[in-house]
């Protein structure tokens, strides 16, 4: 069931998707991954996208993450039309607006935590001194202030995912897009990561979680179920009154 206790008031619309479709041509066949999805995501929402494999969940995540463009439909990110952007414009949006957290962490193996977290800032054109400062700050925020000079192979799985989250946070993105963030972790470490995401939510970040595990999705305040490329259900926890909040 959805947690209603610590829900936060949501802000203006960040993502506005209207009737987007995506189809791939594979040989003779055309695969319709998305058949017309409409979705609005506000600032400071904590949303989970669920669905079995083949439901279009990954495709939708790629759209939301501006890694891919829809075949048809409208996608506005902070009021900017993303659906018609070219590769480099999309790269800029990803760099400034989206923090990615991957199932497999996707850290650069031969770089220290600090250098890994600095990476988005390099692409953003931030100078070296500020880069280091902000990366260190971001690492401290995820509790890795003492692991800055460690390389990924010197860190545990949970610590690696924390580095990845620090990297996602470092450029102050509009949304954090986490794709099965606990998929490669044991359940205890997974819970720690979910607690960290909860914290980030409480601090005012917008989090989009993509998962097929109900246990993980449970942490979100809004759950969107996909099936066969369509939104099957979209359940939001009621905006609680301030008083109710106090009682529960």
């Amino acid at each position: 069931m959805l947690t209603t206790d610590t829900i936060r008031p949501r802000g203006p619309i960040v993502i506005d998707i209207e009737n987007i479709t995506k189809h791939y041509v594979m040989g003779e066949e055309t695969v319709h991954a998305l058949r017309g999805v409409t979705l609005q995501i506000h600032r400071n929402e904590y949303l989970a996208i669920m669905g079995p494999s083949g439901s279009g969940k990954s495709t939708l995540m790629n759209m939301l993450g501006c890694l891919d463009t829809p075949s048809s439909g409208r996608y506005e990110f902070n009021g900017k039309d993303v659906s018609a952007m070219n590769d480099d414009e999309l790269a800029t949006i990803r760099n400034h607006e989206i923090g990615f957290v991957f199932q497999t962490f996707n850290l650069l193996p031969r770089s220290t935590s600090l250098r890994n977290v600095e990476l988005p800032l390099i692409y953003a054109g931030v100078d070296a001194e500020t880069r280091e400062e902000r990366a260190a700050e971001s690492l401290r925020a995820v509790g890795l202030g003492d692991r800055m000079q460690h390389k990924p192979n010197e860190l545990s799985g949970g610590q690696r995912q924390r580095v990845a989250i620090a990297r996602a946070l470092v450029n102050n993105p509009s949304i954090i897009l986490a794709d099965e963030p606990t998929g490669n972790l044991d359940s205890k470490t997974g819970e720690e990561i979910m607690a960290l995401l909860e914290n980030l939510y409480q601090e005012g970040n917008t989090i989009i979680l993509v998962t097929h595990e109900a246990d993980i999705a449970r942490h979100a305040r809004r759950i969107v179920h996909l099936r066969d490329g369509l939104v099957e259900s979209d359940a939001t926890a009621e905006q609680p009154e301030i008083e109710t909040l106090a009682f529960t």
């Binding site: 890694l67 590769d87 480099d88 790269a91 996707n106 692409y123 953003a124 450029n171």
Partner: protein, 416 residues
Amino acid sequence: MKRFIYELTESWKIAFAQMQSNKTRSMLTALGVIIGIVAVTLMGTAISGIQTGFDKSMSILGDDVLYVSQFPWARVNDWWNYRDRREIKTEYAEPLNRMIAATPNSNLLLAVPTSNISKSVKRGDNQVTGIFVQGTTADYPLISVVDFNEGRFFNEVETRTAANVCLLGYDVADALFPSESPIGKEVQISGQQFRVLGVGARQGSFLGLFSLDSIVIVPLPTFKKFFSAKSESDVRVKVRDKLKLADAKDELTGLMRRVRALPPEKKNDFDINEQQAFKSTLDPVKNSIALAGLFITGLSLFVGAIGIMNITFVSVKERTKEIGTRKALGARRRTILLQFLIESTSICILGGLIGLTFAYAMCFAIATAFPSFPVQFSLGLVLIGMFVSVLTGLVSGFAPAWSASRLDPVTALRYE
């Protein structure tokens, strides 16, 4: 712009980290470039060495001296038109000088005859064979640079009286008088005794064909007295201004026609040669050697470049997921392209530096072992070598880097 610089610095750091983590692979790949650069640089060195040797030989002929000879120096295809020509006589020098003196504003200065023959020179039990014996007048030092280690050239009186005096080339003096000064001593040429007046300074060889130090110079009248049979003669004429060489040549042709009393309808039966004639014959040969050499050595560099291209393709393939991550984090196409171009280029630069070091060491070794072989290792060569290395890196890295930059981020992220 700022962003571009950060991306550039980042790319260099990645490139070095890559080389460090794949040491064996990088070194093997660089080896191709090393071999290529060594080959190309050594070839370049050899070519410029040949050029230098050639220029040096040419300067011995003198760029302000015209040679009146029976045949042209440049090769001709219609030799039958030349075979009936009369020999050049040393006596031509006299009327030529008279006419030069009589011409106001003549482009010519002075004509000096020389006669040449190959002889053996003996001193006691020592004998050197195949020595170029040259007869000339006391004016010879006026048209040609004659450097002496010791002694002097013969004078007017010694010439006119056909004295048995001579000058020895460096090698002749060295062979016949290994431990003493030859000045004032006697040598024997064709059974005649000659007193040594001077010893020439070391000059080296002409185009590596014959030594300019295996020479003996005697006064022309003396030469005629003893060696005139089977000798070859020419008349050398110094011009006043080497910039007006063509005018001087025309004037000399006119004078020679008068000396030989050729009627206007007859063709020249002599040739006026200059060092340019050698150049025009030898330049195509020299150029084709250079071209063939550079082509062959260039092939080894090309093979090296293919190695780089191959390894960069492998590197792109291996790191597809990393490329996907970088793209997700905001790397643009340009960023990825740059990153892999710099990786391939840095291997080439490494190879180039090592290659140049080897080439330098080898040049040094060759120069030490064979001082007469003209090798020259110049800064220009280093710059060209580095330029070629960088170019190789850019060219061979471009295809893989381009393919990396065009990767679809979704596909790249999913790649395992």
